[in-house]
Amino acid sequence: MRDIHEHTAGEDLIIKTSVRLMVPFIQVFGLYVIVHGHYSPGGGFQGGVILGASFILLALAFGMKTSQEYMTVGVNAVLNNLGPAIFIGVGVLCTLFGGLFLDYSALDKLIPLGPVEWRSFGIFLIEIGVGVAVMSIMVLLYWNLSSGGSMDEGL
């Protein structure tokens, strides 16, 4: 059992090199999908999945420890909670400035951009929250399920 683990831990030069080349482009594409959701198909869910997949690819090719050097377990735990907190925080902020929950046009009193522009920008803010949550929770699910919960070595 132990032997199989040691030999499958991504010692292949071709896989390592191609993953090293691909990961930065995958992450830029994931950010593009989140940011460009206003103009083309995309948004927080899709872009978050692409960003999470880049970390999972890193863990598959180089081992779980390497992926945890780029996103530590602590940072992952913070991002898990930060994503929904951004979303709900924007909604609560709207109520504090006199609007309904998630009525972004109320935020015009905070920074005067115009109520219609704020509805556009509010959608962008919540898409960031969704993207952060989906990315970190994808990685968390992979770490836990592939290592049986120990989060140190797995696939």
């Binding site: 959701g37 206003h38 103009y39 083309s40 198909p41 948004g43 869910f45 898990n80 994503g83 929904p84 979303f87 709900i88 909604g91 929950f101 998630l102 972004y104 219609v116 522009e117 509805r119 556009s120 509010g122 959608i123 919540i126 898409e127 929250g129 969704v130 949550a133 989906v134 970190s136 929770i137 968390l140 699910l141 836990n144 399920l145 049986g148 919960g149 120990s150 989060m151 140190d152």
Partner: protein, 91 residues
């Protein structure tokens, strides 16, 4: 116990299928969603939100609650897996 669960699943499934009998036909131009809800979004979404992609406008603004609880569902899934599987190292 297993048979009871199977029975509950079958009864619930049959009730849900019976409920779909009253739905309007798929893509029916006369159903309520097509007669006033969709035209409202198509006519007003761009000028009310300045988002050229109407899907994003509906998802993020008109249906903000739905998207918020989708995020909460994903959060709950992550926390459920974490609470069942995660354990500290033995050393």
């Amino acid at each position: 116990m297993k048979n009871l669960a199977l029975l509950a699943t079958l009864v619930t499934g049959a009730l849900l299928l019976y409920g779909t009998k009253d739905f309007p036909a798929w893509g029916d131009p006369q159903d309520p969603a097509s007669t006033y809800l969709s035209p409202y979004y198509i006519e007003n979404a761009v000028e009310q939100t300045h988002v050229p992609n109407i899907v994003t406008a509906v998802l993020g603004d008109y249906r903000g609650y739905d998207t918020m609880f989708e995020t909460v569902v994903i959060y709950c899934a992550g926390m459920a897996v974490l609470s069942v599987l995660w354990r500290k190292k033995e050393e």
